[in-house]
């Protein structure tokens, strides 16, 4: 795999590049690596089935930061590739919701631009999950309000969940508030012929999967039982896929997404599944250049996707092996920079990394962190305790936790998301911090396991390419990175100063 020699691509496909990437000639101020193909903002939207080439190394001009993507699947015509081709009946492809320029996720800005550009007719807004409910009136902004306001897609999940042998359902669920109408819909709701709970979630980045899929331990320390096996291969799985780990591998996710998001008629072929699996596992993504801070791999720093390609999926919660070590050279006095603003940004990023790694605060009432036997509630630790996997910042454990983003009393006060009342049975162990009656906008992992302890638990997301894929948290409740920081500051009483908050924002926007 010679992933850094994409000048080869420039030689091999000069005509294609001239036609397709005519705007990609780097200017002096936006100089991408000589090795990378530069894609400017005019070409940031990748349309399904579009005649366009995927390159080994690409840099996408961003609104806040340029995103770098490195992939060993070099120089193919994307028009017929199963990730980019509209395989289903609604015109969507995988790329519709996993846009390279948006860090292989999908930003609210891009969603809104597509709505404006196509007057709501882009396949992105397919009624199956791009609307608040499939029976909403097509073409009306209010029918797609959760997508247009929060970047959320509908996830219909069967109720009750199908549980493994020997497991019992521990709670009942009621719909308390249903602004979308879908959970009370006679056709799509909880009391329909196919009882379904609709929750609304953000798409996750399809990138850096070598880290996401690593299985660090045989036992899941959060449940005290072994991590599950992939039913297809019998291999143990990490269980960090999706918000709720309802599927365990990219292959299973591809089949699930083709059916539920692309509305495919026939199942994907084995060849398509294998191609998708190989392609997705090979994508590495990170911010590489910041509007204010300049190159993130300058002045000794090693930001960008190259370090992710060469790194190893190891626990990074150590002083001698930090989660994101790229910006250590920016901690020295007089960091080299072209402008004062650039220097100030780099110093701020370095401070932000120090806060992320080293600033202790009390983490409390977080199910599947504080409840791990031995940890205790509260536990005085740092951000890196949970965001512990080097290069991506997920929790390798695996990572579902109830942080409070979608359970009361910590969740944002909002009226636009459905609200459910979960009642745990008297025989079940109650939720350790919320008891037997829980109000939640998304029960999370509990909709898969049927366990009270899992209500509200959501897998941590990776932290790369953050600047280009707002909003944040699984329910889009943080509009920008400052809102992410302010949630944590409020939730855990971190007592961050305004400067410290900005340092954390700058640090995260440089990942």
């Amino acid at each position: 795999m010679t992933i850094f020699s994409s000048t080869r691509a420039l030689v091999a496909f000069p005509i294609a590049l001239a036609l397709l990437c005519s705007a990609s000639v780097a200017s002096d101020t936006q100089a991408p690596s000589q090795d990378a193909v530069y894609i400017d903002a005019k070409q940031r939207w990748w349309k399904p089935g579009e005649a366009r080439r995927w390159h080994e190394s690409m840099r996408f001009e961003g609104r806040t930061a340029d995103v770098e993507i490195i992939s060993p699947d070099i120089d193919f015509d994307a028009a017929t590739h199963p990730f980019f081709a509209p395989l289903g009946t609604n015109g969507r492809a995988c790329v519709t919701c996993h846009q390279p320029a948006d860090g292989m996720s999908l930003s609210l800005d891009s969603i809104r631009e597509q709505w404006q550009r196509t007057k709501g007719r882009d396949p992105l807004f397919a009624m199956i999950d791009g609307a608040n409910c499939p029976d909403a009136e097509p073409g009306k902004p209010q029918s797609h309000s959760l997508l247009l306001e929060r970047g959320l897609f509908r996830m219909p999940l069967p109720w009750p969940p199908k549980l493994p042998e020997g497991e019992t359902l521990e709670f009942s669920i009621e719909v308390v508030r249903d602004p979308t109408g879908c959970n009370t819909s006679p056709r799509f709701g909880l009391k329909s012929d196919n009882p379904t709970i609709s929750v609304f979630r953000r798409p996750r980045p399809v990138a850096n999967l070598r880290y996401i899929l690593t299985v660090p331990n045989l036992f899941n320390i959060k449940t005290g039982v072994p991590v599950m096996r992939d039913p297809e291969t019998g291999e143990r799985a990490n269980m960090n896929m999706l918000a709720d780990a309802r599927v365990l591998t990219p292959r299973a996710q591809a089949r699930d997404a083709a059916k539920n998001h692309l509305q495919i008629v026939s199942p994907l072929s084995e060849e398509q599944v294998a191609t998708l699996d190989r392609f997705q596992r090979g994508i590495y993504m990170a911010a590489v250049r910041h509007r204010t801070g300049g190159a993130l791999d300058a002045a000794g720093a090693t930001g960008g996707a190259s370090a992710v390609v060469t790194g190893l999926p190891l626990l990074g919660d150590f002083i001698e092996r930090r989660v994101f070590h790229y910006f250590d050279p920016w901690k020295r006095p007089d960091v080299p920079a072209d402008t004062a603003a650039e220097r100030a940004f780099r110093e701020s990023v370095a401070r932000g990394e120090e806060i992320f790694m080293m600033r202790p605060f009390y983490i409390r009432d977080v199910t599947h962190l504080n409840t791990i036997i031995g940890m205790g509630n509260p536990i005085k630790r740092t951000c890196a305790t949970c965001h512990n996997m080097q290069h991506v910042g997920i929790d390798g454990a695996p990572g579902w936790m109830d942080l409070g983003t979608n359970t009361l009393p910590y969740a944002e006060k909002t009226e636009d998301l459905p609200l459910f009342k979960v009642t745990c049975s008297a025989e079940a162990r109650p939720h350790p911090y919320l008891g037997r009656t829980i109000y939640t906008t998304d029960p999370g992992r509990a909709l898969i396991t049927g366990k009270c302890v899992d209500v509200g638990a959501i897998n941590l997301q990776q932290m790369r390419g953050l600047a280009e894929r707002a909003p944040y948290f699984a329910n889009g409740s943080a509009a920008d990175l400052m809102e992410v920081v302010e949630f944590y500051d409020r939730r855990f009483d971190m007592k961050l100063t305004e400067q410290e908050k900005q340092d954390l924002v700058n640090f995260m926007s440089a990942l």
């Binding site: 930090r322 536990i379 740092t382 350790p432």
Partner: protein, 263 residues
């Protein structure tokens, strides 16, 4: 909040001075249910109050720690022996501390004491990241000749969750079964009574022994031991408590039989 903490701390000091510290006699076994208390030292200390005296339970740890840190918002069953050393974080040190978190929420368990000048004892890991990764110790396979082995898993009160120390034992057990070509794995779950220092008998729920045994059996099957090799049973009656080593009777015992079956 801070005012409440100070009052609480002052109250404890007065009570401590006023009471004859019968409970705090070294080597005396203590068993009591109480709200745990955390002291906000650089690395937090866990404390508990009993009969007007403050006891030191242990330092904040992690999933690999021998000491199981308690949970605010929950009462805890503390089973331990009174130690004889200097006070730590203001509390008389306890030895052989076993903490069980009571499952129902008790919102009155919210006390965080200020550091008040106390310095926690040296500890391997502070509140930040660990210094450096420690490579896992290489596991030594058991050597032949193989004889029957017994593995004992102890549990928190009324809980079937397997802590890390137990899951490690199960991994060792599975390796032994493979190497020894064992013929049978016999699992027995028990439930028990904890005799508290005030004479109260705390009885585990009727189904917990079964749940413990069945959970371990399911895990062993998942780890590759054939169902046909596994025999699972559990005790209906709770084992009696003595206020000394009651935690040892909340257990699953797994006996691995090797060699030919007796005729």
């Amino acid at each position: 909040m801070m005012m409440r903490m100070r009052l609480y701390a002052s109250g404890l000091a007065l009570l401590g001075a006023a009471c004859t510290a019968i409970a705090a006699t070294p080597d005396r076994y203590l068993s009591f249910v109480t709200c745990p208390i955390i002291r906000d030292t650089e690395l937090p200390c866990w404390l508990a109050e009993y009969e007007g005296e403050l006891y030191f339970l242990g330092m904040q740890g992690d999933s690999a720690s021998a000491f199981n840190s308690p949970q605010l918002k929950h009462r805890a069953l503390i089973e331990a022996k009174v130690g004889s050393g200097e006070r730590i974080c203001g509390g008389i040190p306890l030895e052989s501390v076993h903490v069980s978190v009571m499952q129902e929420i008790d919102s009155s368990c919210e006390t965080i004491l200020p550091a008040e000048g106390f310095t926690p004892p040296p500890y391997e890991r502070g509140p930040g990241p660990a210094v450096r990764p420690h490579p896992a110790a290489p596991r030594k396979d058991p050597a032949p000749p193989y004889t029957a082995q017994e593995y004992v898993l102890e549990f928190e009160f009324d809980n079937e969750f397997l802590a890390r120390r137990n899951t490690r034992k199960l991994e060792e057990l599975v390796r032994f079964v493979e190497l020894s070509k064992a013929r049978a794995v016999r699992i027995e779950g028990t439930r028990a009574i904890s005799l508290l220092s005030d004479g109260t008998r705390l009885v585990e729920s009727e189904t917990i022994a079964k749940r413990r045994a069945e959970r371990v059996a399911r895990i062993l099957v998942d780890l590759g031991i054939p169902t046909s090799m596994i025999e699972t049973r559990w005790s209906a009656e709770p084992l009696p408590g003595n206020g000394i080593d009651d935690y040892t009777r909340r257990r699953v015992t797994i006996r691995v039989e090797v060699g030919a079956a007796a005729p």
